[in-house]
Amino acid sequence: MYMFISPWLIGFLVFALYPILSSLYYSFTDYDIIHPPRFIGLANYTEMFGSELFWKSVTVTLKYTFISVPVQLLLSLGFALLLNQTLPLRGFFRTAMYFPSMVSGVAMSLLWYWIFNPQIGLFNYMLSWFGIPGPAWLMSPDTALYALIIMSFWTAGAGMILFLAGLQGVPASLIEAAKLDGAGRLRIFVNITLPMISPVLLFQLIMGLIDSFQVFTQAFVMTQGGPNYSTWFYVYNLYTSAFKEYRAGYSSALAWVLLIVVMLFTAIIMKLSNRYVHYEGGGRR
């Protein structure tokens, strides 16, 4: 067995375990990557918690996460429910909704950079059809983060595919039985469909959180963290302090806080979900 898994074992030690541990060590040092690290105790952490930019990045990231992740989940579940019926053009709708998810990363950022342009962009043009004067979007600190949140909804199709698969796994016999008992659509959804797809929901919630804690591309390509730090995402902050200011020690402290927060969120969600998530064949809780 070890012969087979040795590539991963080596990879795990070299590319995961060793970096995690040395990152912990660096976080207690003053380190510019060129000169050897110098131990300074908890100084990085105290500086971090007193730093305005750190708290700014935490606020920006949490705000983005708490709006974007739930709305994206609702949208993708909604689309999946719509598409789970026998409707004409179903295949077309499914492909069309998924299509934007193929334009990921930089290309998407460039496209939406244009869409949000206040003078010539598509977004404000469409708003003008309804007589709404559009804001300056990415150029104003009040709206830049919301622009990025709106953009994130565009890829809801990726989650939709997962939910569709989950919905297809709900046994039709259960739904038929409920119908015979006179249950309405809403009742069927709440009492049968939702529990059956809860593992998919849980998975997407956790992965969505982890992803949105790591937003980088949008901030790097579209806003450079601005205007006035309104899109100063956590990982952008981390990247800047390590590779622009050459403060790898401080940045490692940021990295460790991120790691702990991700683990904490995952653990809490898992714990809370124990009661609600239904696994086939698993014990009843």
Binding site: W8, S22, A96, W114, N117, G159, R185, M207, V221, A242
Partner: protein, 293 residues
């Protein structure tokens, strides 16, 4: 209005003649039409703007179709912005990543699928937990490691880790290998096959769809990645597509060349859409299996 009409004339003709047009279905169809329109509109403008002239791209309101089709944008981007080099670099890195991921992940997944001991269980849980490990948490020591090895400004940091397997893909392939019937391997053993040979001659050929999925994911991931190449590549002739494209918005231009940015976006999409078209079924199944977005 016409949308509703189209829906109401269509829905009853499909199957259920017993009930009259179901209002929920009509509403669903309408909602889908509207959202699909909104979803596709940005893509439409991406393609349309990529074919507009420098003057027309600045017009407001934006024109739906180019007044004069500026096909030369597509050649200009290769001449002016080294687009060919970017494309080639991304392809080289993508293909090497795919090879590395396939080889290592299939080998490791086989190990996890075929041996179910106590130590195995422990390692597998460890493997699963690394799926949640955020890359930014480990990137600084990795950077230090690779710079000590003199790998900065080469493709090595982007390619070599793939040869040590990736958690998602190992997990996906392990699930697949576990479904292969034990009898096949028993037969192989009677014929005197060693494990490595059984892996190559029995497990791999039966897993073509799963391997294809992993290959596609690995390619897309590498093709779209921005953070890693931004860290490791410094000379512009080594840039990957995302890095080169990101640099297009930088202060080099007073007014961003929207038409060229859109050309770049369209061209960056081509390989992904092609892959999707070729392997649509496996692709969707693979997404379902792994939950990778």
């Amino acid at each position: 209005m016409s949308i509703v009409k189209a829906a109401s004339t269509r829905v009853p003709s499909s199957r259920s003649h017993r009930r009259k047009a179901d209002p929920v279905k009509i509403a669903s169809f309408t909602a889908l039409l509207v959202t699909t329109f909104l979803m596709l509109l940005p893509l439409f403008f991406m393609v349309s703007t990529s074919l507009k002239s420098k003057r027309e791209m600045l017009k407001f309101p934006p024109t739906f179709l180019p007044e004069s089709w500026a096909w030369s944008n597509y050649t200009e981007i290769f001449d002016k912005l080294q687009f060919g080099t970017l494309y080639k670099n991304s392809l080289i890195i993508g293909v090497l990543t795919v090879i590395g991921t396939l080889l290592s992940s299939a080998l490791v997944a086989y190990g996890f699928a075929r041996y179910r001991g106590r130590g195995n269980q422990l390692w597998f849980i460890l493997l699963l937990s690394t799926m949640m490990l955020p890359y930014p948490a480990i990137m600084i020591p990795q950077f230090v490691l690779f710079s000590k090895m003199q790998w900065i400004d080469t493709f090595l940091p982007l390619v070599v880790p793939a040869f040590f397997g990736s958690a998602y893909n190992i997990f996906l392939l392990r699930q697949f290998f576990s479904t292969l019937p034990e009898e096949l391997f028993d037969a192989g053993r009677i014929d005197g096959c060693g494990e490595l040979r059984m892996w190559r001659t029995i497990a791999l050929p039966l897993s073509a769809p799963a391997l294809a999925t992993v290959a596609i994911f690995a390619f897309i991931y590498s093709w779209n990645d921005l953070l890693t190449p931004v860290l490791y590549l410094s000379s512009s002739d080594k840039f990957t597509l995302p890095v080169g494209m990101a640099s297009l918005t930088s202060s080099r231009f007073r007014i961003p060349p929207w038409h060229l940015l859109m050309v770049a976006s369209v061209l960056a999409m081509v390989p992904i859409v092609t892959l999707f078209a070729i392997a649509q079924k496996q692709f969707v199944e693979g997404i379902v299996l792994t939950g990778i977005k």
